[in-house]
Amino acid sequence: MKPFGVATAPAYYLAGSEPLTMSSEPTGTNIEGEAPDAEPVVETDEATITEDAELERTLGLSGGLAIGIGTMIGAGIFVFPGLAGAEVGTAAAASFGVGGIIALLVALPTSELATAMPKSGGGYYFISRGLGTLAGTIIGLSLWIGLVFATAFYLVGLGFYALDGLALVGITVGASPGIIVSTIAVIAGIGFTVLNVTGTENAAKLQNGIVALLLSMLVAFLAFGMADALGLVDAGTPPGEARNVWAVGPIMSVAALVFTSYLGFAQVATVAGEMKSPGRNLPLAMLGSVLIVTAMYVITIFVATSVFTQDALAAAGETAMVEIGRALLGTPGALVIIIGGLLATMSSANASILSTSRAIYGVSKDALLPGWASRINLKYGTPHVALGLAGGPVIVLAATRQVQLLAEVASFLHLIMYGLMCVALIAIRRDRPEWYDPDFVVPGGPVIPAVGAVASFGLIAFMDPLSIGVGLGVIAATAGWYFYYARDIRLKGAL
């Protein structure tokens, strides 16, 4: 019988002297004299152990999948089918396929990095450690701005679905539906920000439930749609089919637009510090969510373009799925899609606001932003400053209603991060810091990350020039911030 309570130090103090401890530390201070907050930590499957405290890992695989799928599914299924189908018809399925392949090429390297560095901050963390402070600052701040654009985009989608919902229950909105969409998007934006600041209820279970409900609704709906498209059942849909543009240029251009549908798998990495058994759950959650949503997207586009012609899809716009639901199943079908669209865009927006505040924390912890940016209040225990820094600009952008611009800028900023994550993986593997010991290793040497980087950067070339311009402006501004504020901080190779 082992005696209880032998007066030794707790096991974690002993473990602190193991080689797991990180050797190299960040150095330097920012313009205000703040230094990065770095403490040696020990990671276990259940907690992160620092010198004086422990951080419990509480998210399981289903929670990780819910964040990944919940963030992604709102855009791909409920906003883009109309816009994408209008451009290239059934070939849009290929556009979504291309997006899914690129997402997978990036998700694999991200998984390796995340299992080696299971910390809050996700992509920012990997790039600052792999490529240094300049790239880190650009990506950390661009991730924040990119998430802001993405959230605004989801909220505008939410506005369009709410408008259709109002129409379905017989409320007509007169001559200026655009203003109504903006108003709803702005109110929802304020609502989510306030809820996130004051809400102490754990919404994670709700998010899991919403995602499960959405997936089962979609599977049933899409199964029926597929049966109709393949002629197994006849729901009386018009025989007209979308004219298809099977050409590389247009397909890639649509892929660039709809890539916003895949911004989500890397958000799983922003909660890496809270995942149980990160070595197993992080890769499964990231790769699993990409595979699941890719399949859903491709089928959705196939159904959408089988039911409607290009012109009809173009006319129905952001909420074309509602018309498709109506064509397949009548008013109940439209209702199902409207409810699904509301739930999905809400879950995307909420999950993105959550990631934004973690992105800001990651940067502020390394003194690339002032420390007050990550203050939390004891009353609610929430990071009110970071949430405000997320919610404020979201509301302004949501009011613009520029679906395509918001989506592309969000994609642009994320694609830069994705490309650099792939480069960071190659760099870190080459440098091999002592602490680098991933549980998940991408097979095939540098091939997959190299192709992932080329594909990510390459997709940008197919975007609208205005989106590229706005994106480059953000990059320039964040680089300027680095030279002004954080030039002396060294993060490369540190943990």
């Binding site: 209880f4 309570g5 907050d37 259940e46 004086d52 405290a53 951080l55 990550s374 939390i376 929430t382």
Partner: protein, 237 residues
């Protein structure tokens, strides 16, 4: 010596009643300072801001426990899930029991519930060690049910406690284990119960221990079930 885990929500200004500290003077104590965060907040962010304040409070608490008699250390955890954290720490330190703090002055009488599917031997051993040679009276309570008929756990336990020199009464009650415990609680200063196996009932109604703690004002000590992992390591030695 037995070790008791005392979870305290330290940043919410919660502390431990002096009576409970004195009561636990005969055993070793690990004070678990925990802080539950909403999912919007990375636990690391809270650590960054509150670690010092929480550690200072925990060091004070541990010092008070040591002054009360036993050895005491502390752990500090930032978490999204209190139950997961308490269970993990209890496993890691192989705690025999954990305490749900309540208000109490000096403890003169303890109510010990033997109802339900609990490890009677472990409860008896723990109570014996807890009381030691102090003048604290015990009431053993058994809600009449199937168990009362099949075994004589009440008499066996009472005999063991009396042999250890503890003033022991026994009591049986009709009605559910929970209600009879609540009926007897007001005339005692603290409650000892066993951790029940997770059953459908505890899934539906919340953990029995939590219910008892929520309904009684005084502190509740929950004696943990035999730990399978600890068993395995012991047998290897």
């Amino acid at each position: 010596m037995s070790r008791v885990l005392v979870p305290v929500e330290v940043l919410a200004g919660k502390t431990v009643a002096p009576g409970l500290m004195t009561l636990l003077g005969t055993v070793d104590v690990t004070v678990l300072g925990y802080h539950v965060l909403p999912e919007q907040t990375p636990p690391d962010q809270a650590r960054h801001q509150y670690e010092e304040r929480a550690t200072a409070a925990l060091e004070d608490l541990s010092e008070e426990f040591r002054a009360a008699g036993g050895a005491a250390d502390h752990r500090l955890v930032f978490t999204h899930d209190r139950e997961q954290t308490v269970t993990r720490i209890a496993d890691e330190i192989t705690a025999n029991a954990f305490a749900i703090s309540g208000m109490t002055g000096d403890v003169d009488t303890i109510l010990v519930s033997l109802s339900g599917d609990v490890a009677v031997d472990r409860i008896t051993a723990f109570v014996t060690e807890l009381i030691g040679d102090r003048e604290i009276a015990v009431t053993l309570l058994l809600a009449s049910g199937a168990e009362a008929a099949v075994d004589d756990r009440l008499e066996t336990a009472a005999t063991q406690l009396r042999e250890a020199g503890i003033d022991t009464n026994t009591s049986t009650a009709a009605g559910s284990p929970f209600d009879s415990l609540m009926d007897a609680a007001p005339t005692h200063d603290a409650i000892v119960i066993g951790e029940a196996a997770p059953s459908l009932r505890s899934l539906v109604f919340g953990d029995e221990a939590e219910r008892v703690a929520a309904s009684s004002v005084g502190p509740v000590l929950v004696v943990r079930r035999e730990e399978e992992k600890a068993e395995a390591t012991d047998s290897e030695q």
